[in-house]
């Protein structure tokens, strides 16, 4: 168990030339009231913001200033014994059109510390766990633990949020620390996510009257941080299958099988003042059926973002990010998409580009204000996905700004 000094005193201490490390032997057997209290931990957060989008239905259909930027979470962790722990978190989210509004069980799991030595750690997680495979996948809903209010939509598309955020099943994490080669983290997970009617509507449009479900989701990732290096590198792989059962009473669509394969590579540099990060990814999305029973297509999409943060002071951090995404790497302008759909889906739905500038200011070590501006091109990351709304999303260039105040404990 590690005990930490609160607030800035830590940063002051960390910079001192001399440290004294204190520890008491693991063999102490005394039953301690304080220790028992520490087995039970509660934490939470509350964040409220304002968001204004001009030129798309990203948050709302009317384009007015919106307060639909609310994130509230509460979690508890209970250490049953040396190797078993129970943990769960409930969140309330409201992001307007971005995802379904409401209360969710974010995670609810049994954490089994299978093996623990000075160089190796292995944990198994049973139940509902969070996706821990991409740079910001496990912290995408934690306002103060992600880099911006709106994450790069190419990788962290809010329309896929409820499916991508985690799964019900089993996950494994193996960590290895090596003096010569650095730190290695391997993650593996297998499970499924429930697909709500609202999630199906967000993905497919409200013309889809049938039922969508996820049949399986396998993910793996590997991270490597060289010894004493400010760099960290990662790769990830995802293979997921979905099916759609059409509603016999007048569905616009047909029975379908979907397969989604997604792989990413990322790099992160964390210096004293500067931070750089980036992710590149490619996906193969196979659709059999759906549009008509014989349909069989696998477009390959590509995306990337580069991000930098600079700590001006302990309180003030600046952010800059550039992102690009193409729904079909052979159709980067979307012209083929427009031709193939007879003009029903305009070319701008084939891509998504975003330039973001912002800052965050910490009033204390658990109260932060964040402000950001996005210049966007293309409608490729707007909902619904399959049958886009080209009436509202009638512009190639659109913008948004957002402000969010966040508190955590």
């Amino acid at each position: 168990m590690l005990l930490e000094l609160k607030g800035k005193s830590v940063s002051m201490l960390m910079r001192k030339l001399f440290f004294v490390l204190v520890f008491v032997a693991l063999s102490l057997l005394a039953i301690n009231v304080k220790a028992a209290e520490q087995d039970f931990q509660f934490h939470g957060f509350i964040a409220q913001g304002l968001i204004d989008v001009n030129g798309s239905d990203f948050v709302n259909d009317d384009g007015d200033l919106s307060t639909k930027l609310t994130e509230i979470g509460f979690n508890a962790s209970y250490q049953i014994n040396d190797s078993l722990r129970l943990a769960g978190q409930v969140v309330y989210l409201n992001g307007g059109n971005r995802y379904e509004e409401g209360v969710r069980v974010d995670y609810a799991l049994l954490d089994w510390s299978v093996y623990d030595s000075s160089n190796w750690q292995t944990n198994l997680y049973f139940g509902r766990f969070k996706n821990n495979h991409w740079l910001y996948s496990s912290s995408r809903d934690i306002p103060f633990a992600r880099p911006s209010i709106i994450l790069p939509q190419s990788a962290y598309f809010d329309g896929f949020r409820d499916i991508a955020v985690g799964a019900d099943g089993v996950a494994m994490k193996i960590s290895h620390n090596n003096d010569d080669y650095g730190n290695f983290d391997f993650n593996f997970s297998y499970g499924t996510s429930p697909v709500s009617d609202k999630q199906a509507e967000i993905l497919l449009s409200d013309f889809a009257q049938g039922k969508a479900k996820q049949d399986s989701d396998i993910q793996a990732s590997l991270y490597w941080q060289p010894s004493f290096s400010p760099w960290r590198f990662g790769i990830s792989y995802l293979d997921s299958d979905f099916s759609y059962q059409a509603n016999n009473k007048g569905d616009l669509f047909f029975d379908a099988d979907f397969s989604f394969i997604f792989y990413t590579a990322n790099a992160l540099f964390e210096g004293e003042m500067w931070e750089f990060s980036g992710e590149v990814h490619q996906s193969h999305f196979t659709t059999k059926g759906f549009y008509h029973p014989q349909h069989d297509g696998t477009p390959i999409s590509q995306g990337m973002y580069l991000q930098s943060r600079y700590k001006v002071t302990n309180e003030l951090t600046l952010l800059a990010r550039y992102e690009r995404f193409y729904n079909d790497k052979t159709d980067k302008t979307g012209k083929k998409l427009e031709e193939q759909t007879g003009g029903l889906i305009p070319a701008r739905f084939g891509y998504h580009k975003d330039l973001t500038l912002g800052f965050s200011y910490d009033f204390s070590n658990n109260l932060r204000l964040r402000l950001e501006y996005h210049w966007l091109q293309g409608a490729g990351r707007l909902t619904p996905v399959v049958l886009p709304n080209s009436q509202i999303n009638d512009k190639s260039n659109w913008q948004l700004w957002a402000l969010q105040l966040m508190y955590w404990f």
Binding site: V22, L28, A30, N75, K130
Partner: protein
């Protein structure tokens, strides 16, 4: 490792269910008391007057 990196690691663990963040105390004395009374615990302090009840490792940089 910089203090903000530690904060990020603890935030990620605490709010994603992967692990447990450290107990937070307010003064070096509280830290020493907590280390003494918590089996298996470790803590960092700048200087130390009383070393008798704990094991101490000095770190130079």
């Amino acid at each position: 490792m910089f203090p903000y990196q530690l904060d990020r690691i603890w935030h990620k663990l605490t709010y994603s269910g992967l692990g447990v963040a450290p107990i937070t105390v307010n003064t070096p004395k509280e830290l020493m008391d907590a280390v003494r009374s918590t089996p298996g615990s470790i803590g960092y302090v700048e200087s130390l007057k009383d070393e008798e009840t704990s094991n101490v490792v000095r770190i130079k940089r």
